[in-house]
Symmetry: C2
Subunit: 477 residues, 2 copies
């Protein structure tokens, strides 16, 4: 007898095969039909038991959430929604589940409730679909870069430098929390700390990725990054994963090409490899949309939206052009934006980005050449000396999904900008060194992985696309 997963039983094995399947009971109805799931696919395997032949006390233990082992014959199914089912010959309870105590009942639970039981929510259809897609996106990302000669670089998580001032940082320490050693002037003496200096959790691996690119040419990071910001929104996590490619000899145009090609590849991979999971999530989203007022409903379903992105060119326009469009737009004139666009130099808010993408162009948009003074020190200054070679990729429903730039490769310009922005040379001597010894044009970008998973799964809250979300006040599990 062959041990098989639910997926193998449903899609690979011939009718007539004898199989042995293990999994968790989703439902048990009419004392006859068990819907069995093992996470290998979103579909359940129907196991038909002959209740007359089973002892009553065993039947009573076939509860939602119980772990069971089933042996029997794979037969054609008369029921709707499946081609095959198992005619059960032997059934064993591996792990009981008390029907009164088990938090996951065979009914629709709210996503908020499921977050409270994140240790069990991967047993639900929605969350297991999200996790399988998250995995496939992870694999697609590694495959994309690997096939194109990039090297995965594990940049440090604990860092002694505030890389790009991208946000508030978490301190990492082993000092006595209540009586830390102090210096003569009453400050904490970090020389006594584990790393003999103040250290934090990284906000980005970019600067170290640049060091890699200046020797290996093409590298990418895929690791956790952190923001200690008190943002309790559906778009922010304190701990999230980022992908940061960095490419020597690439300018901003190459960088835009790479980001577009990369995003399309990953989305196409999901379309090709996660059909059943996408269908469930497409339906979920459609149900959710029905509850919204007509005006707020999305015009496209989930799968439709993914196909649209892979089949169409992203619109590329400069920040300056975008400001013109926004300034003259109806919502701006009618005071519908929370932040009115008065003119050139304004930082774009999520509402502006979404207007461009969702209303004006109805397409992903790459904005480039932003004002220098709203962007980071390492971005390459344009000839006009007021804009930098920055780019943001904006997606419908998400806003900014990618942020990148061509890096300032000129030693003097970079040093000048660091001075102006108050970044100490002794903190980044190693970064400056790459401009001193064999510098070259290079570019890269950062992709917030959870934003991408949100986009491909249609999940509205970022806390529902990572197994165990970390947010202010929440570090459970």
């Amino acid at each position: 007898m062959q041990i098989a997963t639910v997926k193998e039983s449903l899609t690979k094995l011939p009718v007539g095969a004898e199989v042995h399947v293990r999994g968790w009971v989703r439902t048990f109805r009419s004392n006859r039909f068990i819907a069995l799931n093992d996470g290998s696919t979103v579909a359940n395997l129907q196991c038909v038991v002959n209740f007359e032949e089973l002892p009553e006390d065993l039947l009573k233990r076939i509860n939602t959430g119980a772990c069971i082992s089933v042996q029997g014959d794979l037969v054609s199914s008369q029921g709707q929604g499946q081609n095959v089912e198992i005619q059960v010959k032997k059934l064993e309870i591996l792990g009981d589940s008390d029907a009164d105590e088990y938090p996951l009942q065979p009914k629709k639970h709210s996503l908020e409730f499921l977050r409270e039981i994140a240790h069990l929510r991967m047993r639900t259809a929605t969350m297991s679909a999200v996790m399988r897609i998250r995995h496939n996106a992870t694999f697609a990302i590694h495959k994309y870069f690997h096939d194109r000669g990039f090297y995965n670089l594990h940049t440090p998580i604990i860092t002694g430098s505030d890389a790009e001032g991208a946000g508030e940082m978490f301190r990492v320490t082993t000092l006595d929390p209540i009586n830390p050693p102090t210096t003569d002037d009453g400050k904490v003496d970090y020389k006594e700390d584990f790393f003999e200096k103040e250290t934090n959790l990284t906000v980005s691996g970019q600067l170290e990725a640049e060091l890699g690119a200046m020797g290996l040419s093409k590298v990418y990071t895929f690791g956790p990054t952190f923001r200690a910001e008190n943002s309790n929104t559906s778009r922010h996590l304190a701990e999230f994963w980022m992908i940061e490619p960095e490419v020597a000899f690439a300018d901003l145009d190459d960088n835009m090409d790479l980001s577009e090609d990369f995003l399309k590849f990953v989305i196409q991979y999901i379309l090709d490899n996660c059909v059943e999971d996408l269908e469930i999530l497409d339906k979920r989203l459609a149900d959710e949309e029905k509850g919204k007022p007509q005006a707020e409903r999305s015009e496209q379903g989930l799968i439709e939206r993914l196909k649209f992105v892979v089949e169409n060119n992203f619109v590329r326009l400069s920040y300056t052009e975008a400001i013109e469009i926004l300034r003259n737009s109806k919502p701006n004139k009618k005071g519908k934006f929370k932040y009115k666009i008065e003119g050139w130099g304004a930082d774009l808010q999520s509402e502006h980005e979404r207007f461009l993408v969702e209303k004006h162009f109805k397409s992903p948009v790459i904005l480039f050449d932003y004002p220098a003074n709203i962007k980071a020190f390492y971005m390459r200054l344009n000839e006009d000396e007021k804009t930098v070679r920055a780019m943001d990729v904006l997606f419908p429903g998400i806003g900014e999904i990618v942020g990148g730039s061509q890096r300032e490769e000129r030693y003097d310009v970079l040093k000048g900008k660091m001075e102006k922005m108050g970044i100490a040379e002794e903190d980044l001597w190693w970064y400056l060194d790459t401009r001193k010894f064999g510098t070259c044009v290079h570019s890269g970008f950062g992709l917030g992985f959870e934003r991408l998973v949100q986009f491909v799964t249609g999940m509205g809250n970022i806390r529902d696309v990572i197994p165990f979300p970390r947010t202010p006040g929440r570090a459970e599990f």
Copy 2:
């Protein structure tokens, strides 16, 4: 004209092709031969310049470390060590490198010195080879699990629970470092901290991976883990990467099979895909071995050792059998072990593991069924009630490379052990829940990624197999 990498020029393009290559100068000799490298391969591309046609001031700038752009024709090479070279028609300096200042001279540098300039060491043959192999191992690991129906699970980095007591932890905090808020009894009031509780950097994703396996069946983690131990050795890092597969319905035998098959796959992948890099590192190791006294030299070269591992079965034996062998061994009797093996119950040290692997069996060894009291609370108790279903995979030169176990799936036994070991139920209620609702036999293991990279590259110091090592007192770059 085609833009090409050094690797493409050397292996893919036909003689006669016009190419445009960018990279960094490794050496420039006789005012004529540039060895150009761009990190795409360990080999350099020889670029032949006609010095009579180049201005003198340009020639002077072709220094080691300079970044240059070269255009010319690919021709058959008369020189040794390469099939093709470029006859340069146009040369441009992209980034200068002052010969007096550049720390990487065209000579052999010590690994210790290179660690001090980790921001530049990826430009050396040895370190770039290590990094390319590290990348390929990363990819092979994802591929192995993906192809076998495992899902990559991103378990949390910041954790509120001291998972397995695996070691000292780093505290993660945003509290004022000098005047933290305190409770009435003078302790730090972690309710005021970012997560409203005390949090640390994870030492293992295993417990959360188990939550995943209890719904998705087969999962694996691949992420950073941390130890705040003051170990300044060639085997320890404060920040390192771990791979932790976790499999529902798998017992310890399945777990041993998985670990052996997995390790062989990854090593075979490196043998198949990193030939040139392995050859360089094989030679490096052989040179290093020559400097050692005869008795300490390894009997096998690097590549030979890798082939040996994939071609032979790992020896499997119980802890009890191992103790017998060790107790009766020559070094034990002659007092050569630092820690003498007196009898059953002793914790094995690195010297004992290496004796079994390198001297006794001359083969990787999987030890299993360890005494319960030297292993973690979550390992499944055997019927003898004094051993647990633990296993360690031991490799030559490395010692323990994998540690795993069948997990205690029985609620009462697990709860009893937690009580006995003083682990608070309220800290791990979610872990206990998986034993309460649909529990099942399951197993998993942890692989220290850097130990594996050490093994496949032959690098003796773990600081030389991760781009930017974190160790006590060191968090530079």
